[in-house]
């Protein structure tokens, strides 16, 4: 085990990342994997927009279009947005609460590898057989009728990835409840930590219904069950409910961390304490709670009846209240502040009107009677891209610029960052604003083409140009990342100069044990308080002592690999003349259980960093 940064070969670095249980390195893994899937999902989006550039286009076939559309949605939600959010949670949350690592470092690594193998499995569908093609919602009446293995890839891949997410959620919850530094009470936790907490609770309760739904789908398609087959007594609405009991909390799982990141940014770059901190906490919890009570607003036209529709419509509109509280709090945080328009701040300021528009169309859609008009039109497409891109993706860009120094020790170039912002911001509104009108004019969503002379031509051209502007913005960001990495100019603890929370009290990137001595937290914005009193760093809450660290492990990789192998067996066993399916399924499961068994019987007590070593690489005194 190497204890300090030395030059190492590629093989050693690779092995380090394959076995790491350090939350900061797992954050890197999530960022890289999520970023890669984000690019893949973005390419799929570009293909969609090229196909819709003109009427009767034949850039892709109708079948391929369905696959692109399904994979764009699935990839962006499950394989890009979720892991990128997880990247920031992993990188920042343990630092913000003053912990040396997460509660279960081993499970943290397991969560990542499950996600990655699930994502790989899903994307292998492009090369084997066919990609999923029933939309990201994969409604059962359509998806059990699809031939080929596309939907099987969806059901099995998401099952594996979803397991990883669930593990991650439990891990974060325990970390926040049990591992806060001395003095870090719940009501002193930074907003991003609070949103991580609420989001993890949502994951804990929202993913089991998805797990069950995916199991039912798997059993129906691969093992001859009849859950969704009406001819055998089944009922397709079961899938719809499970999907949305999961799916609605899922969108809050994405947006709440975005709120958290923006709350940090507004406070840092307005150089002011977050306005209405306690009401922010309250609003976050309330949004999390209401998020479970509104799923059927995705199903207004399913025919649940007027009573159910009314209840869910009212509940849906109620969510606008806590969200409104947040919007006003952010505005009041900026009010009278000494604002610096850095790249993260630009994204944050742009987020407010963009997200607000998505929120307003959300309330429109939440009215059940109106929803019959909007349902399955481009209006809906415009709405959810306004909340997910205008909210989540903006936050991911903002977070990437804000936390880049904390994750990698270098600053992204501000000029290039602002160019990315302008390109993406303009492109985003060009692409999606016009889609509101396309929807109102009657263009249905999920169609692979449209006829000339219906008034859709110009608007679709505008929309497609916008998509290319967004792509240009992303390319500029990639160039920025490359330039920054090549230059490799290391920065100090608090490169933005106005950091408020504990992570900015540590070096960039922090040492692998995070805190030499756990810090004493004396209030909200712990580091800011110390700075205002003229101190350089945090006051330690404990004497310097040995630090207990977990050992690296390759077992998470193996556990995930077993499920990956088993998924192939499950998928192909039903094919005509297939003999290897069941043995492979059993082998894969045994492989996973065997790996868990090894983990279980081999004691792993971790190791200690001796006090002397900590004193050695200390400049002087306390660098908590």
């Amino acid at each position: 085990m190497s204890t300090n940064a030395q030059k190492r070969g590629f093989g050693a670095t690779l092995w380090d990342y394959l076995t790491t249980v350090d939350h900061k390195k797992i954050a890197h893994l999530y960022l890289i994997a999520g970023g890669l899937f984000f690019l893949i999902g973005g390419l799929e989006a570009l293909f969609i927009r090229i196909q819709l550039l003109k009427p009767n286009n034949d850039f892709v076939s109708a079948g391929l279009f369905n696959e692109l559309l399904t994979m764009h949605g699935t990839t962006m939600i499950f394989l890009a947005a979720m892991p990128l959010v997880f990247a920031f949670m992993n990188a920042v949350m343990p630092l913000q609460i003053g912990a040396r690592d997460v509660a279960f470092p081993f499970l943290n690594s397991l969560g990542f590898w499950l996600f990655l193998f699930g994502g790989l499995f899903l994307n292998l569908s492009w090369f084997l057989d066919a990609a999923p093609n029933a939309g990201w919602t994969s409604y059962a009446s359509l998806s059990i009728a699809q031939t080929g293995h596309g939907i099987d890839f969806y059901a099995l891949g998401l099952q594996i990835a979803g397991l990883g997410t669930l593990i991650g959620g439990i891990n974060f919850l325990v970390t926040i409840i049990n591992m806060r530094a001395p003095g870090m009470t719940y009501m002193r936790m930074p907003m991003f930590t609070w949103t991580t907490f609420v989001v993890s609770a949502l994951i804990l309760f929202a993913f089991p219904p998805l797990t069950v739904g995916l199991f039912l789908m798997t059993f129906d398609r691969m093992f001859g069950a009849n859950f969704f087959d009406a001819a055998m007594g089944g009922n397709t609405i079961i899938w719809e409910h499970f999907f949305w009991i999961f799916g609605h909390p899922e969108v809050y799982i994405l947006i709440l961390p975005a709120f958290g990141i923006f709350s940090e940014i507004f406070a840092i770059f307005s150089r002011k304490r977050l306005f209405g901190y306690s009401s922010m906490v309250f609003a976050t919890v309330l949004i999390g709670f209401l998020g479970f009570m509104v799923w059927a607003h995705h199903m207004f036209t399913t025919g649940l009846g007027p009573i159910a529709n009314s209840i869910f419509a009212v509940a849906t509109m109620a969510i606008a209240v806590p969200t409104g509280i947040k919007i006003f709090n952010w505005l009041f945080t900026m009010w009278g502040g000494s604002i610096r328009f850095t790249t993260p701040m630009l994204w944050a300021v742009a987020f407010i009107p963009s997200f607000l528009m998505g929120g307003v169309t959300g309330v429109m859609l939440g009215s059940a009677a109106q929803d019959y008009q909007y349902h399955d039109t481009y209006f809906v497409v415009a709405h959810f891209h306004y909340v997910i891109v205008g909210g989540v993706v903006f936050a991911l860009f903002a977070g990437a610029h804000l936390y880049w120094p904390k994750m990698f020790g270098t600053m992204l170039n501000e000029v290039l960052g602002k160019i990315t912002f302008v390109l993406f911001f303009v492109g985003f509104h060009m692409t999606f604003f016009i889609q509101h009108f396309l929807g109102l004019w009657g263009m249905p969503r999920r169609v692979f083409t449209y006829l000339p002379g219906q008034g859709f031509e110009t608007s679709n051209v505008v929309s497609s140009i916008g998509a290319f502007l967004m792509a240009a913005g992303v390319i500029v960001l990639l160039i920025n990342v490359i330039i920054t990495s090549v230059k490799n100019e290391k920065v100090g603890n608090d490169p933005w100069g106005d950091g408020r929370t504990l992570e900015w009290a540590l070096s960039s990137p922090p040492p692998y044990y995070n805190f030499k001595q756990l810090p004493l937290v004396r209030g909200l914005d712990a580091y800011w308080i110390e700075k205002m009193e003229g101190k350089k760093g945090m006051t330690p809450a404990e004497p310097l002592g040995d630090i207990h660290m977990p050992n690296n492990s390759f077992i998470p990789f193996l556990i995930s690999l077993g499920l990956f192998i088993a998924a192939f067996g499950a998928m192909y066993h039903g094919d005509e003349g297939n003999t290897w399916g069941i043995p492979v399924l059993i082998f894969g499961l045994l492989f996973t259980i065997g790996s868990m068994f090894v983990r279980s019987i081999k004691d792993d007590h971790g190791y200690h960093i001796p006090k002397e070593e900590l004193i050695d690489d200390n400049d002087k005194g306390v660098k908590a």
Partner: protein, 111 residues
């Protein structure tokens, strides 16, 4: 039982005390178990006995099941002890969402 150790300074006395406390708790567990068996018996008898209508039996046995689960959680799984605040919060939330889910599937699924 408190999280930390009970300490009177004299280890022998402590052990005696704790043994007695544990034994007493175990006695309560056995009583709980007897009650659970009793409730189960009533549920089975209510179903086996021909005289009741379904309108009475179904809510009745669901209530018995609910009581029995409370016994399991609070006594067998020690949720009544201190230091279970977070487990309680999350179990209650889980039960609430479980309830909403089951309510949905018994009311607004197409029949």
């Amino acid at each position: 039982m408190a999280n930390g150790q009970i300490n009177s300074g004299n280890p022998r006395v402590d052990i005696e005390y704790r043994r007695k406390k544990n034994a007493e708790e175990m006695k309560h567990q056995v009583i709980t178990f007897a009650l659970m068996i009793f409730l189960t018996l009533i549920a089975f008898v209510a179903v086996a006995y021909e005289g009741f209508t379904g309108w009475f039996i179904v809510p009745f046995i669901l209530l018995l099941a609910g009581v029995q689960v409370v016994f399991q959680l609070f006594y067998f799984m020690h949720m009544s002890h201190e230091g279970h605040e977070a487990p309680k919060l999350f179990m209650y939330t889980g039960v609430l969402i479980a309830f909403v889910t089951i309510l949905c599937y018994t009311t607004i699924i197409w029949w």
